[in-house]
Symmetry: C2
Subunit: 333 residues, 2 copies
């Protein structure tokens, strides 16, 4: 069997570690693994298939001989090193937002638009975590009925902001419970027992960058700029698993049972929708899972083509690491 040299950049971060774990769990044909990170992580070790790998500094020459370079070390690292990796013959799969809107870079969710991979020129972008799970859930509906409007409110886990944020939620929660003085670093406000209606910075139009990603990336992935997307992105005190309350208006009238059937058959989706048994998607159940969970499917009370749903997925897996590995899998098919 053909094997590949794979580099993971940002190997010690929340997503990087999951990338390595996912490569192992899905038995990706890794011949050689290179674990790279910034200078300050050099010397740390990560485990892959019961072997320890020492982290090396990510430098342009690190990518010599690399087939796939999975990047998740922040936008500025990607901007600098992704072109270096490509120059040396690697295919770069970038989890940051650095290249997502570049017209020459495919933005790919394999279940949704794997076809876009044919056009790549060395760089493939992994969409934003909130966009990925929404695309997985909406694509089967879009294909059959069309979608004119999306109003989405998110309930995003702190792990989307990295290891520091996970640590901060736990530390702060303990401080609040024991009435100690509260420490704050990863988030601008208390996150323990609170919700923060801001993710990433604000743009002039009053939307945050995270919200604009959901708009622009949806348009690019579905290749349809006519869809009206209205997002509100909110951080909640959850460790893993983003949830989304989604209202859509389809172009054609839909049949609710048919929608459930479409979603049940769709790749990467698990329908959990038995309200009579109090069964619906929740972050604690999605944690560590590959699927995107869809539930609370119900026809709007007023708009004939209105459809409501609740979508949950592990933001670090399908929202980042898993999606990147799936892209590599598609490329070697």
């Amino acid at each position: 069997m053909k094997t590949y040299t794979v580099a993971v950049v940002g190997a010690t971060g929340a997503v990087g570690q999951k990338m390595i774990e996912t490569l192992e769990k899905r038995n990706f044909p890794v011949g050689k693994l290179k674990v790279l990170a910034s200078k300050r992580s050099v010397g740390k070790t990560v485990t892959y298939k019961e072997k320890e790998y020492v982290v090396e500094e990510a430098l342009p020459e690190s990518f010599k001989g690399v087939d796939f370079a999975l990047f998740s070390a922040g936008g500025s690292v990607s901007k600098e090193l992704v072109p270096e990796a490509v120059k040396r013959g690697a295919v770069a799969i970038d989890n940051t937002s650095a290249f997502r809107m570049d017209p020459n870079v495919p933005l790919v969710v394999p279940e949704v638009n794997a076809h876009a991979l044919k056009e790549h020129a060395g760089i493939i972008a992994n969409p934003n975590c909130s966009t990925i799970q929404m695309m997985v859930a909406l694509k089967p509906i879009y294909d059959v009925y069309g979608i004119e409007k999306i109003v989405v409110s998110t309930y995003q886990a702190v792990s989307g902001a990295g290891d520091k944020a996970i640590h901060e939620l736990k530390t702060q929660t303990n401080e609040v419970l024991t009435e100690k003085e509260m420490t704050k670093q990863a988030f601008p406000h208390q996150i323990a027992f609170n919700v923060i209606p801001q993710i990433d910075v604000f743009e002039e139009n009053g939307f945050t960058k995270e919200e604009m990603k959901m708009v622009n990336e949806t348009h690019k992935i579905l290749e349809d700029v006519s869809i009206e997307v209205t997002p509100t992105c909110v951080r909640v005190p959850v460790v893993f698993g983003h949830s989304e309350s989604i209202y859509i208006e389809t172009s054609k009238s839909y049949d609710l049972e048919k929608v459930k059937e479409l979603l049940t058959k769709a790749p990467g989706i698990a329908v959990v929708d038995n309200p009579e048994n109090k069964e619906y998607p929740m972050p604690v159940d999605a944690e560590g899972q590959y699927d995107t969970y869809v539930g609370r499917l119900r026809r709007d009370l007023f708009h004939e083509n209105g459809l409501n749903m609740w979508v949950v997925s592990d933001n670090v897996l399908k929202g980042a690491a898993l999606n990147a590995v799936q892209i590599a899998e598609e490329l070697i098919k």
Copy 2:
């Protein structure tokens, strides 16, 4: 000064205690206070103006001589005892859903529809907590521009489910942090570090009762059944303060600065909307406050009459206890 005999039914509960505290803080002209509850709370004490009051069992005859009876002891208690209180000459202000949709019972948010109080026949209903804060925030806009559509997703605090739920969130959170076995009683699922997309039971149409309250109560309070309301109600691990992500479509085109001005001048609203300084409403800031906080006001990117906002209020105060006391204040004006 004229004083009134006030009875609080459910005096030991989360809302009942806040009712007593609010009567004191707002200096309501209480002549005599009666603290009532179910049998199992008899003998407990509550404090009002530094004096201890012993809880008595709520019985039909308890309401003799009572001017205002504030009910917050559950729907079945209200169904049984509200008519008994009214029969004995009291005005019953009921925080449960028992009488809200009764056409003979005004459903009142004083800042929004105090005029409806003129029609009462002894019973006045306090709306659902999620509805109240949405009505406070939307009424000034409705009056000037009209509202055709509301899509709302809630982030509701556990205190809406009572003292047991507050206790459960804290206990469970500690159990998760210390990796102990998790106990569960108030909620059907883990609430610590999780979100639950169910509040109250499900109806046949796939919406929960809590969601249907937001639809029906909005129609009744604004006296306008033409408004399309699409709610998704979600419990989050927050102790006090409900948050709402609201998207509306106005009937007439609006001016965003004028909307901010209208809201700033409106009673019961505090506009907190300085994204450049990371200032927006959050539950930890709303806790213990009387105002409904509105922020993240922004014009929709696609729909000219689309308007997005983020609304937070203390669910136990404006969402329950304060609103009830304000109704009594209106009645003695």
